[in-house]
């Protein structure tokens, strides 16, 4: 029997250990999480994901590269015919790790850059000198011919530096992923973008997508930026927003084996642990991921309840909605909704 849902993309937190203390970190990374998976458990997990027909695995953290066996796990993923990418803050990059990234055969290495100046980036990341280290790492990766993406998480502390960041990475990165910080983990609520600032970021992404060809710099809005605008061009990778994919085509794995529909979701969304049940059992459980799989129009709240896109949109990004409103299916950071509000006020 064909599976109704397949975890095409998996975000796997290899470790919660981190060498930075970023103000916006959603998982409050720093110290190692209790009871993280052992190497044999991680390798077995690779086998289980292959059986579930996973195509892409993104190794993240904490800082994924601080886990000593990250390359062993990465190689196992590749050997099992799945694609592997790595998300790093760039601080641990050195010649040895770059050689290992090449040896593993990652299809992308994503580096976080949150400021266009050392002051801003270092302040956000909590490590003096990390800006220079990050840019050096980016150049080293590019010179080695590794496909590099830069990820910028935007909030009130760095929104004004988007043009500066762009100028820094042009010619160095292949792609630029822009996402907004949401109040989970240790991110202070007062730093979240206003709705007008959020809309300006979406406008910036749409403009940059038009200004630069994909070969020059592929700009994309991630996760929750962009659905159903009536005024500006698409800001996402996909041409259509088909609702939150957590538990539909996306799976999140914490370093202790806890399973969530999306790694960004709060711990209240944990569905089980791979030490108690096989991943397939959790994924194929008919009662799992109800916020995503069983969402109906009657679940939509507030402005989403009467929206004409509600049935397919399902109220936007579950993480943003839950962190800002306390409930899913009610994402207030929606371009369609904001445009309606702005036009009403004019």
């Amino acid at each position: 029997m064909k599976a109704k849902h397949v975890p095409i993309t998996v975000a796997w937190e290899l470790t919660l250990t981190c060498n930075m203390r970023c103000m916006h970190c959603g998982s409050s990374a720093g110290d190692t999480r209790g009871h993280e998976l052992t190497t044999p458990e991680a390798l077995d997990l690779c086998s289980q994901l292959q059986e579930l027909h996973t195509k892409y695995i993104n190794l993240t953290g904490g800082e994924a590269l601080l886990r000593k066996d990250w390359n062993v796990i990465g190689k196992e993923i590749k050997d099992r015919g799945m694609n592997v990418s790595v998300l790093s803050n760039g601080l641990a990059l050195n010649e040895k790790i770059i050689a290992e990234l090449r040896s593993v055969g990652v299809y992308a290495i994503a580096i976080s850059l949150d400021g266009g100046t050392p002051q801003t980036h270092d302040c956000i990341r909590g490590v003096p000198g990390s800006f220079e280290k990050c840019l050096q790492g980016l150049e080293a990766l590019t010179s080695e011919g590794l496909p590099t993406t830069v990820i910028t998480t935007v909030h009130k502390g760095n929104i004004q530096e988007l043009p500066l960041i762009r100028d820094r990475i042009l010619g160095k990165a292949k792609a630029w992923q822009i996402q907004i910080a949401v109040p989970i983990g240790r991110f202070p609520k007062e730093f979240i973008l206003s709705k007008e600032e959020f809309y300006a970021v979406a406008l910036f992404i749409a403009a940059m997508k038009k200004r630069y060809s994909v070969k020059e710099l592929a700009v994309m809005g991630a996760h929750s930026i962009g659905y159903h605008s009536q005024l500006i061009r698409n800001t996402m990778v996909s041409p259509v927003w088909k609702g939150c994919q957590a538990g539909i085509s996306v799976l999140g794995i914490q370093s202790n084996g806890d399973i969530k529909g999306c790694l960004s979701l709060p711990d209240s969304f944990i569905e089980g642990n791979i030490r108690q049940r096989q991943v397939a059992d959790i994924w194929n459980d008919p009662h799992a991921f109800p916020y995503s799989r069983s969402c109906s129009e009657s679940d939509l709240k507030d402005q989403c309840a009467s929206c004409r896109f509600g049935r397919t949109c399902k109220g936007g990004c579950t993480t943003v909605s839950a962190s800002l409103t306390g409930a899913a299916h009610n994402d207030p950071y929606c371009l369609f909704c904001l445009e309606n509000q702005m036009l009403t006020h004019e």
Partner: protein
């Protein structure tokens, strides 16, 4: 209104005009979305989970899809 917002992030009037939806961009998105759905549906029925790959979003899709809109 869009110009005021855009100027706060260093966008020129040309950038902002180009960022707006046009009949051509709407048509492009419609074609791209239709193709993605058709390919996905066909592949889903014939190739099981591979079909979902075409519907799913990944960085590897980006080079293809970005040219349409």
């Amino acid at each position: 209104m869009l110009r005021n917002m855009g100027q706060t992030l260093g966008l020129t009037h040309t950038d902002i005009d180009r960022a707006k939806r046009t009949a051509r961009s709407i048509l492009g998105v419609t074609i791209a979305a239709t193709l993605a759905i058709i390919i996905g549906k066909i592949a889903l029925s014939q190739l099981d989970s591979v079909g979902l790959y075409y519907i799913g979003v990944s960085i590897k899709d980006f080079n293809l899809l970005s040219r349409f809109f």
